[in-house]
């Protein structure tokens, strides 16, 4: 037990913007993996659509020398998360492995965290989830269906980590890098998303995060995100 506590794990992600084609496969994979309910068009127009992983398109430069870049934006899983500081009921907290968790059963829906988050990646359930009966059968049983009135967010597919750990323990081996992949990484056709343990020197994210092209969003805020982006080459 003591031994296990000494091993520090910090799950993180590196997204190569040069590789991202903006195909939105990650968004779709995330929505289907995490039982993310759709909202009617009028509600979406009010900014109530939910998308734990969102591909944001940015136009850079001035006309006619413009370039379009896509930023896949999951929860940044900050090491210093502003959302955790404002939660009055400890429904959102950062766990030992650096993942910012949201406990739906504890959330009171005050939305402080959604307002505190500079990346706007916390989503409020304005309505209870609605699915057609045919869709209901496709829900992922490993992830809860969030009720009305709670905040939800990207969890780095935490249920997959638990499953991978369980498999590894059952087979009596250690957890390998490829065992735990979030749905977005798995779906990415260009392998723009790399995921792993930032503290483990054998994991690819560890090397990529120290790449000269590496940057994080709104780094000046001091939130210390664990999602790194590799800037597009000129």
């Amino acid at each position: 037990m003591r031994e296990r506590a000494r091993i520090v794990t910090r799950w993180g992600m590196v997204i190569d913007l040069d590789r991202c084609t903006g195909c939105v496969a990650c968004e779709v994979a995330c929505k289907s993996e995490n039982n993310i309910a759709t909202v009617p068009p009028d509600q979406a127009a009010m900014g109530r659509a939910k998308s734990w992983m969102k591909v944001v398109a940015e136009v850079e430069g001035e006309f006619p020398d413009t370039s379009l870049h896509f930023y896949p934006r999951p929860c940044m899983q900050c090491d210093n998360p502003p959302c955790v500081k404002v939660c009055p009921v400890a429904a959102t907290y950062i766990n030992d492995e650096g993942t910012v968790a949201q406990i739906y059963a504890r959330c009171i829906g005050c939305r402080y965290c959604a307002n505190a988050c500079p990346y706007t990646v916390k989503y409020f359930n304005w309505y209870g989830p609605e699915w057609a009966d045919s869709e209901r059968q496709h829900l992922n049983p490993d992830v809860s269906v969030r009720p009305k009135g709670v905040i939800e967010k990207c969890t780095f597919c935490h249920h997959r980590l638990q499953q991978a750990r369980e498999d590894a323990r059952a087979e009596g081996r250690v957890l390998r890098e490829e065992d735990y992949q979030p749905a977005c990484q798995e779906a990415c056709p260009t392998a723009a998303i790399v995921f792993g343990d930032l503290e483990n020197s054998t994991h690819r994210v560890r090397q990529l995060k120290d790449d000269p092209r590496s940057m994080r969003l709104m780094e000046d805020l001091g939130t210390a995100p664990k999602v790194y982006y590799l800037r597009p080459r000129e």
Binding site: Y93, Y104, A105, R106, T155, H159, E166, R169
Partner: protein, 187 residues
């Protein structure tokens, strides 16, 4: 004067302060409150669970020495342990065993091809993600840790023998220095 008498006298004094009409409203209000509380408490308590066959655990576990896994097939490999179906029972009960009425009923059900559906007794809330595989398959916990003396029952219990609460989980996890991360069970 006993305190009880004083209380009732106090209550009737309070009632005389009010006009007859108000008195009625107050009494009705109190009655509604009592009924509402009772309803909520009753709903919070799990409804009694009935079974299609009055299964005798004790005969199977003690006299026949069957393991739990014989009927609860996925207890080591699945999230849910699984309940026996007609096919499972028919391994032995295709012909009538013993003289009990229930055994005769079971054999008849099997031979008539009637579906046999046992009902879950131990239920966790929807926001709790528990797997038997992790606890029984990997950690090798004994069933009675959470299910009590279910193996020694002669009649199917209508209520869980152990109320599985979060404190029950946490006590064990703390004792064994295991994770107490909320996210381990709630997600």
């Amino acid at each position: 004067m006993s305190s009880r008498l004083a209380l009732s006298r106090g209550f009737s004094t309070v009632l005389t302060w009010l006009s007859p009409r108000r008195r009625l409203v107050w009494l009705l209000g109190v009655a509604v409150l009592v009924v509402a509380t009772a309803t909520v408490l009753r709903a919070a308590r799990q409804a009694p669970v009935s079974q299609p066959i009055a299964f005798n655990h004790l005969i199977h576990t003690r006299d026949l020495e069957l393991g739990c896994e014989f009927c609860h097939k996925y207890v080591r490999s699945g999230a849910h342990s699984g309940l026996p179906d007609a096919e499972n029972c028919s391994l032995c009960h295709r012909v009538q065993l013993g003289t009990s009425e229930e055994a005769a009923k079971l054999t008849k059900m099997i031979n008539d091809g009637e579906p046999l559906q046992f009902n879950k007794l131990f239920r966790l809330a929807d926001h709790v993600f528990y797997t038997h595989r992790r606890h029984v398959g990997i950690a090798k916990l004994e069933c009675q840790n959470c299910h009590g003396a279910i193996a020694d029952t002669e009649q199917p219990p209508t209520r869980p023998l152990v109320q599985i609460t979060m404190n029950l989980c946490l006590d064990c996890h703390r004792k064994r220095e295991l994770t107490v991360d909320c996210n381990a069970c709630h997600r």
